[in-house]
Amino acid sequence: MSFESELARIEAIVSELERGELELDRSLELFSEGVERLRLAAAALSGIEARIKVLTERSDGSFILSELDR
């Protein structure tokens, strides 16, 4: 799932919880789903160092992704 869709889901969860009309079980369920999605979204942000690759192509049309020599 993309970062955006994680965020969109988290926002939907927040607003559903904020309406406060849910069954308790459902609230707790949504809350724990939200916590998990927040964890995933934060993980997507936590790379260490920007990696750089070079995309080239073989004559048969297949792709090669290699490290950039710098």
Partner: protein
């Protein structure tokens, strides 16, 4: 005959006309030469005497012939010269000149034997004020527009946090260095994928178009930046090439153009989903600032916690109200209602600490589900259960100690 340049540079034209004194061909009515020999000799002399020259004049009688070649005259005051541009040489020329346009043409002077005309065979052509390029720009722009490729509705939103950003540019240019620096500073979690292509010179349009198509077919990047650092106007021409613009318009990955030139808008700028003024600006548009995103996630976590706590408080209050009503009517109530009351208060006790349970606290309850909140409710050996966040634990009180202070 007017000769230009250094005499030593040209070979003596081999005419076959002045070979043998009195008996040379054409020297007497009895020894005429053929027309073809004369035109060939004139052609050899002209081609041998004139290197390719840049000639300036006004375009007159322009015709694009069915055979693909262009024919026109260059005029200057009262003088004019016939010109031809072979179709294969037109590739280098942005657009056909208009009637009356002031142009500068690179041409080889020669003789067109079939007519006996002197003619300039033109291999490159430019108009005053970059007129041909402006004309080509407008022509291509009109074609792109006709195909709907410039419609504002085509612009796609960029990914907020792309896992990979592809960069189509020169591997040695400042543009790539700038993009890498900005992405590293803002959001190092993003992978940068260089797709190398020449950004100026004759091979640039084909290389740029091929690189963009490669990104599109590969499909593993969420955003692609196509660009170069600032340069002279003619250095940016590849980004006005129709092949490049169409490749960009057809790219399945959302696109950012970053042609570092404040004044000129390129065709790539027009078809890209986003136009950035510089490669650095493109990189900034492509990735978010990591710390901002983290803060926004924190804020959402806070909202979620508070909303859940409110919901729990609300549930508790409702149960308390229900219990009060039940208690009031309990005196003249059946045994069944009394049992119901007990079960309601059990649920109430179980509910209120839910928020706390998720933080690692436990609630001790008796077999009826009533919360055991004081040690006085326990005797050594009593069975009870512990309610935790995700389930229950059956336990037995091994001993009971009351805190002296409470």
């Amino acid at each position: 005959m007017t000769r230009v340049g250094s005499r030593d540079a040209w070979p003596e034209p081999s005419l076959g006309l002045h070979g043998g004194g009195d008996v040379s061909p054409g020297s007497s009515p009895g020894r005429p030469v053929r027309v073809g020999t004369v035109t060939q000799a004139a052609k050899d002399i002209l081609e041998g005497s004139f290197p390719p020259l840049w000639v300036r004049g006004e375009v007159l009688d322009f015709k694009a012939h069915r055979n693909g070649h262009w024919y026109f005259c260059l005029r200057d005051g009262s003088a004019q010269i016939r010109c031809v541009v072979w179709s294969r040489d037109q590739l280098r020329i942005p657009a056909a000149p208009d009637e009356g346009m002031q142009v500068t043409a690179l041409g080889q002077l020669t003789v067109y034997a079939a007519r006996g005309d002197m003619q300039l065979t033109i291999s490159d052509l430019s108009a005053e004020g970059d007129g041909l390029r402006r004309k080509a720009f407008e022509q291509i722009r009109a074609r792109l527009e006709l195909d709907g490729l410039l419609a504002p509705g085509r612009k796609r939103r960029l990914a907020r946090l792309p896992a990979r950003v592809a960069v189509v540019t020169s591997p040695t240019g400042a543009a790539f260095r700038d993009i890498v620096a900005v992405i590293r500073r803002r959001c190092p979690a993003v992978e940068i994928v260089l797709v190398p292509a020449a950004v100026q010179g004759d091979s640039a349009p084909a290389e740029l178009a091929a690189a963009i198509n490669r990104v599109s077919r590969w499909g593993q990047a969420q955003t692609v930046i196509v660009g170069r650092g600032g340069g002279a106007r003619e250095d940016l021409w590849a980004f006005n090439d129709e092949r490049v613009a169409r490749a960009l318009a057809g790219c399945r990955v959302p696109t950012i153009s970053a042609v570092g030139h404040e004044v000129d808008v390129t065709l790539c700028d027009l078809v890209a989903d986003l136009r950035a003024a510089t490669p650095s600006a493109a990189a900034a548009a492509a990735v978010p600032v990591l710390t901002d995103e983290m803060e926004s996630l924190e804020a959402k976590a806070g909202l979620m916690r508070r909303a859940l706590e409110r919901r729990l408080r609300l549930g508790t209050e409702r149960l308390q109200r229900a219990a009060r009503v039940l208690r009031q009517s309990a005196s003249h109530d059946s045994e069944r209602r009394r049992a119901s009351l007990a079960s309601w208060s059990g649920r109430l006790s179980a509910l209120s600490p839910l928020a706390t349970l998720s933080r690692g606290y436990a609630v001790a309850r008796d077999a009826e589900g009533r919360a055991l909140i004081e040690v006085s409710r326990f005797a050594a050996g009593d069975p009870f259960s512990l309610l935790l966040r995700d389930g229950e634990v059956d336990a037995i009180a091994s001993s009971v100690r009351r805190h002296p202070s409470s």
